[in-house]
């Protein structure tokens, strides 16, 4: 067995049993990165030397009998997490030269638990995108391709496309990611892996480059639901440096995976049956519900009446917050600065921001600025906040009747790199099943459940109650086991 084929759980066991060392495991991943990253572009920065150093230190700790829960496990870190001493770009030219002197809380938690960092994963610029084509460091390619059309390069989804592609192609055992409207779940589904956006407040946002503060949430992607559970346990926890972080205990998520679904009531929201959804996705959804029923769950039709307003609400709230969050990239203190000999301050701002931000980021800053402007605030931002409250209430009502909700993760399988690029609205529709969990702050898990006719992975989504990731993991594991998803992407280490 190739070392990159371990699941994260399997690797931890192998390390514990002395079957492999962290140095060997790390080196195998670095070799795989060297071989495949030039094609996939999943990493912006590979920190090979540092990774091996961390691996050696980890092996030494293990010898001394000190081993954290992730001792020696090589991971990819989405390049939105600030890593002390390592370039952190957010996929943007404007931060192309930015090396933070501080560590994000989530990545610091992983280091505390013994993890090894292979490098920084590519992403859509400032996490704005659903295809990982907006990165200033080039698009990421999905390691999967269509059976009958292997030459068409597909997107890995976004914004955590680099994280998802790296994990799917075995260039990391797991990765950190972030999700503002679906940026963990959609790429996980497109790449045939699992990914969870936990409850808002579960992971600290400290040190994560902000996109939309009230929606952003960090979470893991990995090849199994259990691997996600292990990673999330390390990533999560109260952080006094983030006022929106929740001061509640972090349960043993991995233990919850095996709980089973017997007696659970699973909600099936009728509003998620969208016109134009491919029949194979509808069929997969039905199949997933049938698997859960077979394992003793009850499925119940529910209504989330304000679902149709979720996407427009999201595309007001997220750009509004982004327009303000991205104001600090002004060329004054760090990052890119573009001036001419006679530039005044305004000119410095204009040149820096025009050249530093890509088209999608500029579009969202403009939308956000517009919806917050005097005279438009009430009609857009304020109304969006009201609808957001209604969407939250829909879920509250639903969770009075059911324990979890199951939906498709995405309205399609991965698409071609040159598709949907001309129409931002079409691109935004990728988030149609996922944004509601962000707006309501709820945990949402994407789990690979099958393949489409082209042999591309499709995922289902499990949404849970606030801070009830445990039930989400249990339902996700039940789907995963019933699906027996064993298909592999064409581009992968050892293939």
């Amino acid at each position: 067995m190739h070392p990159t084929d371990f699941t994260l759980r399997g690797a931890i066991d192998a390390l514990n049993e002395g079957i492999i060392t962290s140095v060997e495991l790390t080196q195998a991943h670095l070799d795989a990165i060297a071989a495949l990253n030039p094609r996939l572009n999943a990493y912006i920065t590979v920190t090979g030397e540092q990774a091996l150093e961390q691996a050696r230190a980890s092996d030494a700790r293990r010898k001394e009998g000190i081993a954290g829960p992730l001792e020696g496990v090589p991971l990819a870190i989405k390049d939105l997490f600030c890593t002390a001493g390592t370039l952190t770009t957010a996929g943007s030219r404007i931060l192309g030269n930015f090396t933070p002197p501080y560590e994000s809380t989530v990545s610091a938690n992983l280091l505390r638990d013994g993890a090894v960092f292979l490098g920084k994963a590519n992403l859509d610029e400032f996490a704005m995108g659903s295809s990982n084509t907006t990165s200033a460091f080039g698009p990421v390619e999905n390691p999967w391709s269509r059976a009958n059309d292997p030459d068409t390069r597909l997107v890995p989804g976004g914004s955590s496309g680099g994280s998802a592609a790296a994990v799917a192609a075995r260039l990391a055992l797991g990765a950190t990611a972030t999700d503002t409207g679906g940026s963990i779940r959609q790429p996980a589904a497109f790449c045939g892996i699992a990914g969870i956006k936990p409850t808002y407040g579960r992971c600290s946002r400290f040190g994560i480059v902000a996109f939309a503060s009230s929606l952003d949430q960090a979470g893991p992607v990995a090849r199994t639901v259990e691997d996600c559970a292990i990673l999330l346990k390390s990533m999560a926890g109260f952080d006094p440096k983030d006022s929106t972080s929740a001061d509640i205990p972090v349960p043993d998520f991995a233990a919850a995976c095996a709980r089973g679904v017997k007696g659970l009531r699973i909600g099936v929201p009728k509003e998620y049956r969208l016109e134009g959804t491919p029949p194979e996705i509808e069929a997969l959804w039905e199949q997933g519900l049938a698997w859960l029923r077979e394992q003793g769950a009850e499925t119940v039709e529910i209504s989330l009446p304000h679902t149709k307003y979720a996407l427009p609400t999201y595309y007001i709230v997220a750009p509004a917050e982004a327009s303000s969050n991205l104001a600090r990239y002004d060329g004054v203190r760090f990052g890119l600065r573009v001036t001419e000999p006679n530039s005044d301050l305004r000119d410095l701002y204009e040149r820096t921001r025009a050249q530093g931000f890509g088209a999608e980021v500029r579009r969202r800053i403009l939308i956000g600025t517009y919806v917050l402007s005097a005279g438009y605030y009430d009609a857009y931002y304020l109304k969006a906040q009201k609808i957001r409250a209604l969407i939250k209430r829909d879920f509250d009502d639903a969770f009075g009747k059911v324990d979890a909700i199951v939906t498709p993760a995405t309205p399609s399988a991965a698409f071609g790199m040159d598709e949907k690029q001309d129409d931002p609205v079409k691109m935004y529709l990728n988030d149609v099943f996922t944004v509601t969990a962000n707006l309501a702050g709820l945990p949402g898990l994407a789990v690979p459940a099958g393949l489409d006719a082209q042999g591309l992975p499709l995922g289902l989504q499990v949404i849970g109650r606030s801070f009830d990731e445990e039930t989400v993991f249990a339902v996700g594991t039940a789907i995963e086991q019933a699906a027996g998803f064993t298909a592999l992407p064409r581009l992968r280490a050892g293939a």
Partner: protein
């Protein structure tokens, strides 16, 4: 008497409202742990939060919130148990985040009131509209380099209270009195040091004029005035400008102006059309600020005595309203007075503190907390008068020596032989000597010229080098003169 500006068309009233920015006295900034000390080297008190680095998040400093609540209580204002921080978005080089975190829609403190005392002794209530917390920006330095501007972020993120008054003031004097009183309250509370020359307190002055009986006309805002005197001058200058403009048939446009302290005029900074669209919205990094009612109560219970209450107490102790006012202007002065007055006659102490002590202190140019004469030393001096060791006149001289040398009064009296003479024999001898030398005046007195009594007292005291006990001198003199 109403203050008016006499124009060609008749008298004009002035309407004034103030927005005061007061720096919160605290160890750390509003949303970061960085220090707030004044005068530190540029950019030496800056955290990554204050510099707006990627991924940095604000965390509210509880002490700053407590200070705002204390201030609200001191302004007899409503404390809002639920308030919220908003972002005020604009670009400037010394605003690292590209927005200021402030409380726009839901301030922590609501309506309150401040009582001001005017020169004629009358009082007036000035309404407080609101008080909110916000962060300060950094400082742009344009004079350090021929072509570059430098930025100092030490102030960036420092907690400010913006205290907004109602447009209740009607004269420069009232504006000055309001600012003086507000500063006094803040200093009593210890919530702002009130150092206007260090920028700890700045005022935006809203001025409009109107004909008596009219509603409000358009106002202008004079930004960032940094002394009480300048506020009073700015009110007058701006009001006169507006009167002239109206009388010339012009219209006052709502705009932001600056006060040119050198020339004593205001000039336009930006018009309403140039005003920023700040795109306020709730800061998603900060949950609403929710205060527990019992926490507010505990702050209220621990509030120090405020100037109005203290003044009333002094009047009840027998002080004149004027002395009570003067002694309560500064918390330190009041504390000094009370230290001296403990166990002594309050009225006598007040006379000495506001009289000879203040006069001597003024000559040194020092504040009461740096006085070379401590409260204990002054108390000892007053005790020497009370127990008739020295008389009042000698005491004045002793006080002067105390200021010069820092010695204790007892030591001065002993070393210089200033003890007053209470020996009636010595007094009689001196009186007889004076009467002998002024036989003619004695005759005049005896023939009914009572006014000469003072002359004899003076002569006797002079003969005794001022050390005679005045009461005894009077008594014996009356006997001898018959």
């Amino acid at each position: 008497m109403t203050y008016t500006i006499e124009g060609r068309t008749g008298p004009w009233e002035v309407v004034i409202g103030l927005e005061v920015h007061a720096q919160v006295t605290s160890q750390a900034k509003l949303f970061s742990g960085a220090a707030t000390e004044f005068g530190a080297a540029p950019n030496s008190q800056v955290s990554f939060v204050d510099a707006g680095f990627p991924g940095m998040l604000p965390v509210i400093n509880e002490e700053c919130v407590a200070q705002a609540v204390r201030t609200g209580l001191g302004l007899k204002a409503e404390i809002h148990l639920w308030s919220r921080f908003d972002r005020k978005n604009y670009f400037y080089a010394d605003l690292p985040q590209g927005y200021q975190i402030s409380q726009f829609a839901h301030p922590i403190v609501g309506t309150g009131t401040v009582e001001i005392t005017l020169a004629d002794g009358s009082t007036k209530q000035i309404g407080i509209t609101r008080l909110h917390l916000e962060q300060d920006a950094g400082k742009s330095l344009h004079d350090q380099h021929p072509s570059k501007s430098f930025i100092d972020l030490n102030r960036s993120g420092v907690a400010l209270m913006e205290i907004v008054s109602e447009p209740d003031m009607r004269s420069p004097e009232e504006a000055g009195a309001y600012l003086t009183k507000l500063r006094q309250i803040l200093r009593y509370l210890g919530t702002c040091d009130g150092n206007m020359d260090e920028g700890s307190m700045r005022a935006d002055v809203n001025v409009s004029v109107r004909k008596p009986g009219e509603g409000f006309r358009t106002r202008c805002e004079v930004k960032n005035v940094n002394s009480i005197r300048f506020v009073m001058q700015a009110v007058e200058a701006e009001a006169r400008r507006q009167v002239e403009l109206w009388e010339e048939g012009g219209t006052v446009e709502q705009e932001t102006r600056l006060f040119d302290t050198g020339r004593g005029v205001t000039r336009s900074m930006r018009s309403k059309e140039d005003a920023h669209d700040y795109r306020y919205f709730p800061d998603p990094d900060l949950p609403p600020l929710v205060l527990a009612a019992d926490w507010v109560e505990s702050l209220k219970a621990a509030l120090p005595e405020l100037p109005d209450a203290r003044r009333a107490r002094y009047v009840a102790m027998g002080l004149s309203p004027y002395d009570a006012h003067v002694l309560t202007l500064e918390r330190e002065t009041a504390a000094f007075f009370e230290a001296v007055a403990r166990g002594r006659d309050a009225k006598t102490v007040a006379n000495w503190v506001t009289g000879d002590f203040f006069a001597a202190l003024n000559r040194t140019g020092l504040g009461v907390e740096e006085s070379p004469v401590s409260a204990a030393a002054l108390g000892e001096l007053l005790d020497l008068i009370a127990d008739r060791t020295i008389n009042g006149k000698i005491a004045k001289d002793v006080l002067a020596i105390m200021f010069e040398t820092g010695e204790r009064p007892g030591a001065i009296v002993d070393a210089r032989g200033l003890r007053q003479v209470v020996d009636t024999g010595a007094i009689e001898a001196a009186i007889e000597q004076v009467m002998a030398a002024n036989a003619g005046k004695v005759a005049e007195y005896r023939s009914g010229k009572d006014k000469l009594f003072g002359f004899f007292v003076g002569q006797v005291m002079k003969a005794m080098q001022g050390k005679g006990n005045p009461a005894l001198v009077n008594e014996v003199l009356k006997q001898k003169l018959g």
